[in-house]
């Protein structure tokens, strides 16, 4: 405290030391602050500049991925197909269920080999070519059906009516093709057997066909009745299991 307490206590008389003391007590935090009048102008470190440069190079690389900027053709990817998973290598097209994959294969074979006579709707024409839709020989035992496709058919068909002679369709048919076309006909055109004739079963069918006593001749209803009234040997596959649509092999990782 300053010693000039003799002065009258007037409002406009400010004791500087006392005022300062009050400021420091009441606004101690504000009084600690200092007003800085200078602005620094230190040189920018070369490390900061080069780090920024590297970031800009990365940014340029990202832009570079965008292709030509305003060329309309490059604004979208035509026929874009998803790249295979990283580390997945040649994982190929997306897997489908076994039934779908076999049918997709079989549809192509049907179009190439069967369409001409049995028709695009598989109804035949009623006169020379029988219908495959709803036929008990198509829907029934798979070995019987396979023998007809592989060897052709002579004499009356399942309905009892005798159509013309059906020639063998085995030429150029691989086991995958046979499996596909059997599965397709049994599960399309209103047919709903629901099972899948696997490649393994189709292979067995080809062996059985080659070992017939009358190999090379079309089968007859009597022979089918006598020798082939059974399902093709081989392990059945769950129609809903995911397989590769090209190789028809089950996709292993999809069934943990």
């Amino acid at each position: 405290m300053s010693p000039n307490n003799q002065k009258p206590d007037l409002d406009d008389s400010i004791n500087v030391a006392e005022a300062h003391g009050r400021v420091v007590r009441e606004a101690a935090a504000a009084a600690r602050e200092r007003r800085i009048l200078a602005a620094g102008n230190e040189p920018i470190s070369v490390w900061v500049l080069s780090a920024c440069g590297i970031a800009l190079v990365f940014a340029g690389a990202i832009i570079g991925n965008a292709g030509t900027f305003l060329d309309y053709a490059s604004l979208y990817r035509k026929n874009y197909v998803r790249a295979s998973a990283p580390g997945g290598g040649e994982s190929g097209p997306a897997p489908k269920t076994a039934l779908e994959a076999y049918k997709a294969k079989g549809k192509k074979i049907y179009t190439a080999k069967c369409n001409g006579c049995h028709g695009a709707d598989a109804k035949g024409d009623g006169a020379n070519y029988p219908s495959l839709a709803g036929s008990p020989w198509v829907l029934g035992d798979s070995e019987r059906f396979a023998m007809i496709v592989l060897n052709g058919l002579q004499g009356p068909a399942s309905s009892g009516k005798a159509f013309g002679v059906m020639p063998s369709q085995a030429a150029g048919l691989t086991p995958e093709d046979l499996a596909g076309v059997l599965t397709f006909v049994r599960n399309d055109f209103g047919n709903e057997v629901g099972d899948v004739i696997t490649t393994e079963m189709a292979k067995a069918a080809m062996d059985i066909s080659a070992n017939r006593s009358k190999a090379g001749q079309p089968v007859t209803g009597a022979e089918l009745e006598a020798d082939h009234l059974k399902a093709l040997p081989g392990d059945p596959i769950d129609p809903s299991v995911m397989v590769d649509p090209i190789t028809l092999a089950p996709v292993e990782a999809a069934s943990p």
Binding site: R35, I36, A38, V48, C52, L56, F58, A85, A253
Partner: protein, 498 residues
């Protein structure tokens, strides 16, 4: 330091004290209710994160399903805490920088209550299943006009103060704060009008939404935090800003680059093909403003290491600026098309990046500002050194764990998602499991410290702080008062604090 650097007079001190006093209630209202929202948000974050690795937790309660809790967590963090902390800091800093007392306290407080009402209704709306499903805009549609009008009623005042400021130099902090005040309505109104009022392509709507999220970080929270750091660093250390040229460079690069960023989240989506790449490149280029501001403030702070170790404000700011540099590096690292970018779009990585920005960078800087501002506006010193220390350690380590673990765990998780031959349960979910567990534990620790932060702050608002002329510093002393040298208690005698 030479005395020519400083100029402190009693008039200066009285002016500062007057400004601080005029803003006591707005600042304390926004900080305290913000801190309460922060605790709520982190609690929701703990629940949301726990559901990633423990899906049956609280499964019977429809209010707490993941699809509601997670958006409620993010929106409470952004609008409850982030925006309110920004209000407090912008109001106080602008008043200090323009050297004018605030004269609209009543309006600001009223608008602040309306803002809180809007946020409350919005969060309740999300939890009751009325969210919009647009990330960071999940509040039911009625909320956004409420928020933007109360924003206008609050943030028009710093703008007016700037208009009537005394002539003279405009400091870099003011640039950043004013930019944030103007950019937020632009970003918020654009996004909300496009998504709620106009009928556009839903695909572009997703793009607008992605841009909005990026713009909220880089056009609002970033400038607010940088304005704060540029004020605190020289103020607390007593040293001038390391390089003022670098500060301006940082501002203009941010202003030019940031609006382009954001659409990289839509890479691979059928929107115009160049947009995601422009977004990715712009986000990577944000390294430049981040590094400029980060290095500049850190060099300023490191010029006075003793103050750094003892000042809570400076410690938090330093942590925030460190996170900023990490954020800039992550912006480059996470946006490389063909390697990291596809892995960050739908995984924990995107969340990690957001948390690094919103918590590691923005929130830690706001904590720094809080520890600086509150003793000034309440004229009381912080009660407990130990609480501050706990808060600092838990926040910094917690953030590092949440953000970095989410970023790296998300990269693995995203890799498994990309490989479509891997089943979800044994691939992506299994990869994310340990990281999600770590995130839950870290959030729980952060929650613990933030509840004490909220209580500490409430005591300060009630003016139950220490009445002393000595600040609460993070110094270790053997014996004696845990707060260091006690200094002069109010009304005891003349001060000697200089």
């Amino acid at each position: 330091m030479s005395s020519a650097l400083y100029n402190t007079t009693d008039e200066d001190v009285l002016l500062r004290a007057g400004i601080d006093r005029s803003l006591r209630h707005p600042v304390m209202f926004f900080l305290t209710s913000g801190a309460a929202w922060l605790a709520v948000s982190i609690l929701l974050g703990v629940i949301a994160s726990a559901k990633v690795h423990w899906p049956s937790l609280l499964a019977g309660c429809p209010f707490l399903t993941y699809g509601r809790v997670f958006p409620a967590h993010m929106n409470a963090l952004i609008y409850g805490w982030g925006m309110q902390a920004a209000f407090a800091v912008i109001l106080w800093l602008t008043a200090r920088l323009t050297r004018k007392e605030c004269t609209a306290v009543g309006t600001i407080l009223t608008a602040g209550h309306i803002w809180n009402l809007g946020v409350t209704l919005g969060v309740v709306g999300i939890l009751s299943g009325h969210g919009t499903g647009m990330p960071w805009m999940e509040f039911p549609v009625f909320a956004w006009p409420v928020l933007i009008f109360s924003y206008a009623a609050i943030m028009v005042w710093p703008f007016i103060q700037f208009r009537v400021r005394p002539e003279g130099h405009v400091y870099i902090s003011q640039w950043y704060l004013l930019a944030a005040v103007i950019w937020f309505p632009w970003v918020y109104i654009t996004a909300n009008v496009f998504l709620h009022c106009l009928q556009g392509s839903p695909l572009m709507a997703a793009g607008v939404n992605a841009w909005f999220r990026s713009a909220m970080i880089f056009l609002f929270f970033t400038p607010v935090a940088l304005g704060t750091a540029y004020y605190l660093a020289p103020k607390v250390t007593g040293r001038p800003v390391f390089s003022y040229t670098l500060a301006k460079l940082g501002f203009w690069t941010l202003a030019v680059i940031a609006p382009w960023a954001g659409m990289q989240k839509l890479t691979g989506a059928p929107i115009p093909y160049f947009l995601p790449y422009v977004g990715g490149a712009a986000t990577a280029m944000l390294f430049v403003p981040a590094a400029a501001a980060g290095v500049n403030t850190l060099r300023t702070i490191l010029s006075n290491k003793e103050t750094l170790s003892s000042s809570p404000a400076l410690r938090f700011t330093t942590a925030g600026m460190g996170s900023l540099i990490l954020l800039g590096a992550a912006a480059v690292f996470l946006n490389l098309p063909g390697s990291t970018l596809p892995r960050t779009q739908f995984s924990l990585s995107g969340y990690g990046f957001d948390i690094l920005a919103l918590y590691g960078f923005f929130t830690l800087t706001m904590f720094g500002a809080t520890y600086f501002i509150v003793p000034r506006v309440t004229r009381r010193e912080w009660l407990s050194r130990r609480l501050i220390k706990t808060h600092f350690l838990f926040s910094v380590y917690g953030t590092i764990f949440v953000a970095l673990v989410a970023i790296f765990g998300g990269l693995l998780q995203g890799g498994s998602q990309e490989d479509f031959t891997k089943p979800w349960a044994t691939g992506a979910a299994k990869d994310a499991y340990p990281y999600a567990l770590t995130i839950t534990v870290s959030w729980a620790l952060i929650l613990f410290s933030n509840i004490f932060f909220f209580i500490h702050l409430t005591f300060m608002w009630l003016r139950l702080g220490r009445r002393s002329s000595h600040p609460t510093l993070l110094v270790f002393s053997h014996g004696g008062s845990p707060h260091g040298e006690e200094g002069d208690i109010d009304n005891v005698g003349p001060a000697s604090a200089h």
